[in-house]
Amino acid sequence: MNIVGITACIAGIAHTYIAKEKLVTAAKELGHSIKIETQGTIGVEDQLTPADVAAADVVIIAADIGVMNLERFVGKRKVEVPISVVMKSPKALIQKVEAKLAEG
């Protein structure tokens, strides 16, 4: 699976980046490719390019706040979860997403 996603937390200094790490680690262990954009207080980092988005099978938004530029993902299969889900169970999340996608 080719995953792209965004993480964003309230204070925008810690959880945003921890969640990114967790998703990336979990995805790699499960054999997926992944790119995550962070929207912290410092601003957007590792921005997803149109090519990233075009190549993605699924978009995972892990955020406790509203995220910016969602219009990029129009027409994409997209799932939104609270950031705590990624903190607690990144692998299970990705597996559940995969299962849902397989269902069609």
């Binding site: 309230i10 921890i18 207080t41 406790d64 706040i65 799932v79 950031i83 705590s84 607690k88 996608l101």
Partner: protein
């Protein structure tokens, strides 16, 4: 759940403004002390127009006037996307105008946000005028209607709630309920760790500063510092075995922030385990806040953390309250969250309870 997300978006964008503004105001007063000004002169910084200190203080004051508008603007943004920002900002100014502060800003932002969503969906205009909807009709109609509602209907009751609460705080300050007042302020700050309830309590303390009542400000500052210090120390003392690298890095960030009176560094811990964290921080903050009032600590500054302690009345009382409050939070959290091994990075077992209860919608 959506409600919380919208509110948190507003707060997330509001935080840098409060920090910038509060620190500028605090800096003006600290520089005043360094330059050897008397307390009377320091209080009068704001009217000494054109002076160096006035400028720094004024930057802070101007920033503070933006706090509620940005809160409202970005709550409305979270609800209605881009069209929400403009009207939301204006509604924040209206909330300031009718003296409803944070509470009014919150209410107005939700109203205007959902009103804009409604307009987006249901407004029918001839095709030739379609282009005017986002640029003209939505901003104009939503701003006008909700602002008038604030002026005519909602402003008074919300302002009354705010005034009643402020009045209650003043009465407690003057009466025998000093510990209770400090504990109430502390409990509110310790409860949501920089969230809306804490910000509300802070807003009241700031309002009281303007009235020349300086005690609650000390309670506010101490109780905004103890959570981060107590929790961070508990994690760092707990050591590598019990806490993951990410958690200890978070604690290392939270600790200096705590000394600067920025509570938000604890939020990652609170989000992961709200009950244990909040019980620890609320009790620590409430005791610390109460003690400052009993010991007559006063602080003329709304912000500044450890750096403004020297300009407080009874700075040693403040430090004692800070130590006791942090210790209580530390001990409570250490006991409540006792564990032998770090939960992440050690085993592959994930807690998917929350995930299981979610229905993923694509």
């Amino acid at each position: 759940m959506k409600f919380r997300k919208h509110m948190m978006t507003g707060i997330s964008y509001m935080i840098p403004i409060i920090v910038a503004g509060g620190l500028c105001m605090a800096l003006a007063r600290i520089l005043g002390v360094v330059m050897g000004l008397t307390p009377e002169q320091i209080v009068a910084i704001g009217s000494d127009e054109g002076s160096f200190l006035w400028m720094i203080n004024r930057i802070g004051g101007l920033a503070m006037t933006l706090v509620v508008p940005v809160l409202s603007g970005f709550i409305a943004y979270s609800i209605a996307d881009r069209p929400g920002i403009g009207p939301g900002l204006v509604l924040g100014l209206v909330a300031n105008e009718v003296k409803t502060g944070f509470l009014g800003g919150l209410v107005a932002a939700f109203l205007v946000g959902y009103f804009i969503l409604f307009l987006k969906k249901h407004m029918k205009v001839p095709k030739s005028m379609q282009g005017l909807v986002p640029i003209l009709f939505i901003p104009f109609i939503s701003t006008l209607v909700v602002s008038m509602a604030m002026f005519l209907i909602l402003g008074k009751p919300i302002a009354w709630v705010m005034e009643t609460f402020t009045g209650m705080l003043v009465n407690m300050q003057n009466g025998g309920a000093k510990f209770g007042l400090g504990a109430l302020i502390g409990g509110m700050l310790g409860f949501d760790l920089g969230g809306p309830m804490g910000k509300t309590a802070s807003a009241f303390c700031n309002a009281l500063l303007a009235e020349g009542i300086y005690g609650p400000s000390a309670a506010k500052i101490v109780s905004g510092m103890t959570p981060a210090i107590g929790i961070a120390v508990a994690v760092l003392v707990g050591g590598k075995k019990r806490w993951s690298i990410a958690e200890r890095e978070t604690a290392k960030t939270a600790l200096p922030l705590g000394f600067c009176f920025i509570t938000e560094g604890v939020i990652p811990f609170a989000a992961a385990d709200p009950i244990r964290v909040i019980v620890s921080t609320m009790i620590g903050s409430a005791v610390a806040g109460g003690l400052t009032q009993v010991w007559g600590v006063e602080c003329m500054v709304p912000h500044g953390g450890i750096f403004v302690v020297p300009i407080m009345t009874n700075p040693f009382g403040f430090l004692a309250a800070l130590t006791i409050g942090s210790l209580i939070t530390f001990v409570l959290f250490f006991i409540l969250k006792f564990r032998k091994k770090a939960e992440s990075g050690v085993s592959d077992v994930e807690d998917s309870t929350e995930l299981d209860s979610l229905d993923l919608n694509f």
